[in-house]
């Protein structure tokens, strides 16, 4: 069966598990012919999911799932392949911005639109960041390097590398997940209709992805990397190596619950706690029936644990 | 004073008035009958409403009072009118040939089919050889001649001409006068002819209508009873001179009737 999975960025190692599962036939083994449709800086794939043009979409964090419930959109998160949001805030060392508490004193916060609509809201209400200092991140780190008193968002796996190469310094990196932003990330979002009508497809995709991630992180990932480089010619081996190393180092994919439940794990308690936190921070509306935002039916089965070496 | 044969009436202006939106009363109470085959000249001081009257007749403008009666119908069928505007009014992007071809083209005549007629008209207005020039490369008089050729090329049943020969030298003017008369006699179309030359009006027309200004109105009508064809002999005849003098006097009368202190404006 042909299905399409939309990612939220150009092909990169952060999508490695899915490419791996395509490349080594893990999806095919349970009867899925998966096409990966890359996203991009200005490309928003979620509407395509809503319109049924995509079967699966890679969500950034849980907030959009909450929003979907609030707007009465029958969309659910079926797996969370990242236990931690890989978002970091970077600052330049030695500028008085070396501690998390100091970051709000920066002159400029360079943040993308999505970040501004999600974790930044939380940073404003909870941590006292100044909304007026936000400047859009156009996916060009030059302004950050130029302005020593600025901070910038980034994926722990990618921006620090670029800054290090071009700016000639290793930026301070504050992984949001370590400072209370405990959402799941890189979720798999599906329309309710798919869950109802083709549960086996969903199951296959979730399981295949989990296995893919294990294989990508711990096995031979050359085929997946070749696919990534083909989709995104600017990707370098150096960058890929850096990314994978960071993913492992920060336990982005595989840490905490996954030790027992397998990659993709989610727990009700953690989602509830994150939601409560967001409500408290006035980022999410109170009174949302968040049970509708996700289902645990396809995960937490320890699939693929055997592949971890 | 009207003198015109037994030809059927073509059109009549009845009590026609025209007030422009800026309040200028260009025409008032104009009564004028034109019969088939008439050659009527309009004579009058500058600004007395000659062009306005011509535009009314052509249907390019509607009277604000009174009616235009075409053989008993208001409005009437205005096809087959040839019009020479006071300004040349040529298509600036088209060459002389195309400008003259235009009316035929609009009737569906192809370039090849139209060529003989166009070339004949070009020759008539002495512009052979200039068919590929565009208007801005022509002198004032040449432009006007193109405009005349364009009006004649369709052989219209009614010809309205607004000072067509004013920009031409007298010799060319005489020639074209003769040509026009000849054509008119052959085809017997109806002509309404605006001119400032008393001589021209008397030479050409069977009726001269003298208008007065502010407000524009018909001041007098003169019949020119001399027989057609009229030629150089007529031009030098004492009859002609007398008629010219008479027309001239009427014109002076018309102008004086409004002259006074020129402080009336609008």
């Amino acid at each position: 069966e042909k299905v399409t999975f939309g990612t939220n960025w150009l092909a990169e190692p952060e999508h490695g598990g899915y490419y791996q599962a395509v490349a080594d036939g893990t999806y095919a083994a349970c009867g899925l012919d998966v096409t990966i449709s890359q996203g991009g800086p200005q490309v928003s794939g979620r509407p395509l999911l809503l319109a049924g043009k995509l079967d699966f979409y890679m969500g950034g964090n849980l907030l959009s799932a909450f929003d979907a419930v609030q707007q009465g959109i029958p969309m659910r998160v079926v797996a969370a392949d990242f236990q931690k949001d890989p978002q970091v805030i970077m600052s330049q060392p030695g500028q008085g911005l070396d501690k998390w508490e100091d970051l709000k004193n920066a002159e400029q916060y360079i943040l993308g639109d999505e970040g501004a609509q999600t974790f930044f809201q939380w940073m404003v209400t909870e941590l006292g960041f100044d909304a007026a200092k936000r400047v859009p991140y156009t996916f060009n780190p030059a302004p950050f390097i130029a302005n020593k008193k600025s901070i910038q968002q980034g994926y722990v796996t990618s921006e620090p590398f670029a800054v290090q190469k071009q700016g000639g310094f290793v930026p301070n990196q504050f992984l949001l997940a370590d400072y209370g932003w405990d959402t799941y990330a890189t979720t798999v979002e599906v329309m309710q209709e798919t869950i109802d009508k083709r549960p086996e497809v969903v199951q296959c995709f979730v399981d295949g992805s989990a296995k893919g991630w294990y294989n990508y992180l711990y096995g031979d990932n050359k085929a997946a990397n070749d696919m990534i480089k083909k989709d995104n010619p600017d990707m370098t081996d150096e960058q890929i190596a850096f990314s994978i190393e960071q993913l492992k180092k920060f336990g982005v994919v595989d840490s905490g619950d996954t030790e027992k439940l397998g990659i993709g794990a989610m727990t009700e308690a953690r989602i509830q706690s994150f939601y409560d936190k967001m409500v408290k921070a006035k980022v999410a509306q109170p009174g949302i029936d968040i049970k509708k935002a996700y289902t645990l039916a396809f995960i937490n089965k320890g699939v693929g644990l055997d592949l971890k070496k | 004073m009207v003198a015109s044969g037994e030809a059927p009436m073509l059109l009549a202006l009845r009590n026609v008035g025209k007030v422009f939106s800026n309040g200028v009363m260009a025409l008032t109470d104009v009564d004028l009958t034109i019969r088939e085959g008439d050659f009527v000249s309009l004579l009058g001081p500058s600004g007395c409403g000659k062009s306005t009257a011509l535009r009314l007749i052509a249907g390019l403008s509607t009277p604000t009072s009174g009616v235009l009666d075409w053989r008993g119908r208001i409005g009437g069928d205005r096809t087959n009118i040839g019009f020479v505007f006071q300004e040349p009014t040529l298509l600036p992007w088209a060459n002389v040939f195309d400008n003259i071809w235009l009316p035929l083209r609009l009737k569906g005549v192809s370039r090849a089919k139209a060529a003989p007629a166009v070339m004949e008209m070009l020759a008539r207005v002495h512009l052979t050889g200039f068919e590929y020039a565009v208007p801005r490369e022509l002198s004032g008089g040449m432009k006007m001649r193109v405009s005349i050729a364009r009006a004649l090329v369709t052989k219209p049943r009614i010809l309205l001409m607004d000072e067509p020969f004013a920009a031409l030298d007298e010799i060319t003017r005489f020639k074209l006068n003769n040509d026009l008369l000849e054509l008119w006699q052959d085809e017997r179309f109806t002509v309404v002819f605006v001119t400032h030359s008393v001589f021209e009006s008397v030479f050409l027309s069977n009726r001269v209508v003298v208008m007065a200004a502010r407000p524009g109105r018909v001041f007098a009508e003169l019949a020119v009873d001399a027989a057609y064809p009229r030629d150089e002999a007529f031009r030098t005849s004492p009859d002609y001179a007398a008629l010219c003098r008479q027309a001239s006097d009427v014109l002076v009368g018309a102008i004086n009737s409004t002259a006074g202190p020129h402080h009336d404006g609008h």
């Binding site: 809503l50 959109i73 999505e114 909304a131 936000r134 859009p136 | 009436m9 009616v67 119908r73 409005g75």
Partner: protein, 283 residues
């Protein structure tokens, strides 16, 4: 005088048609556009229903209107922010466009030397150079204005230049004969003659400066209280709040139409005494 009885005068069909048509036109001029607008909205509604388009993709007009009403406070205050940038940038576009056009009209040299830079400005994607602007411009409003201006000024420049060069040759000669200085020629001849062209460019620039303001906000991303419609759109997009997104879009459209109407009126008032495009056909 003639044998035809006056009472027999009949309005001929063509004349009658014309009169009828004029009457119709007077009514139609207002009714028809409204009718078409309503029809379009109805069609939108039907399309949504027929194709069962879920409201989170394309909400039905009723829902959008409801949202427009419910969120009026929020949306209109954003609209004001956007309109402020729009008008300022339109003003700057006029000053810049006309100023440059006047400069270019001074000599072929100047035109050939500096027009390329104007084109470069026109075709440079703002998104791409925003980082540079961001680094060197501190004031948020200035950033927005700069972006919106870049989008809007070119049509004015281009049209005004064309207009300044379209002056009747005899009139130009007449000025020359009277020993007009360059400045006098500009002031009394070329600028008035360029008016229709300039106003045409202005009508194009009006819409462009609105969209420029929106795009500038998209790129420069104002936040907090002072956020314009673009932020609302982005926010609504991320919040999957389609009705609000479309309400914001509709506000932009209405603002665009309004700007166009106002500029058309201005153009009409300036030109109505002499230029064909604005003259009422007097018959």
């Amino acid at each position: 005088m003639t044998a035809i009885d006056d009472s027999a005068l009949k309005l001929d069909p063509e004349e009658a048609r014309r009169v009828r048509q004029e009457r119709l036109e007077r009514i139609g001029r207002w009714v028809l556009p409204l009718a078409i607008m309503i029809l379009a909205i109805w069609l939108w509604d039907r399309v949504c229903v027929w194709n069962e388009i879920p409201k989170y993709i394309l909400p039905r007009p009723g829902v959008v209107l409801q949202t427009l009403y419910d969120d009026a406070g929020l949306l209109f205050s954003s609209l004001l922010v956007t309109l402020r940038i729009t008008f300022l940038s339109l003003l700057l576009a006029v000053i810049g466009g006309v100023g440059l056009a006047v400069l270019f009209a001074q000599s072929k040299w100047v035109e050939m030397s500096f027009f390329p830079f104007a084109i470069v400005l026109q075709v440079t994607p703002i998104v791409a150079i925003f980082p540079l602007i961001n680094i060197y411009v501190d004031n948020q409003t200035v950033k927005l204005l700069l972006c919106a201006w870049i989008v809007a000024f070119f049509p004015i420049l281009s049209n005004t230049t064309l207009g300044l060069n379209s002056v009747d040759r005899n009139l130009r000669d007449m000025f020359k004969l009277n020993g007009a200085t360059r400045w006098q020629q500009l002031r009394y001849l070329r600028l008035p003659a360029a008016m229709p062209y300039f106003l045409g460019g202005l009508k194009i620039a009006g819409g462009l400066s609105l969209i420029g303001a929106v795009v500038a906000e998209f790129v420069a991303g104002a936040q907090g209280q002072s956020s314009g419609l673009a932020s609302r759109i982005i926010e609504a997009g991320y919040r999957l709040n389609a009705p609000r997104l479309f309400a914001a879009l509709i506000l932009i459209s209405l603002a665009g139409i309004l700007i166009f109407l106002v500029l058309s009126l201005v153009s009409h008032l300036i030109l109505r005494r002499w230029h064909e495009s604005a003259l009422k056909q007097e018959r």
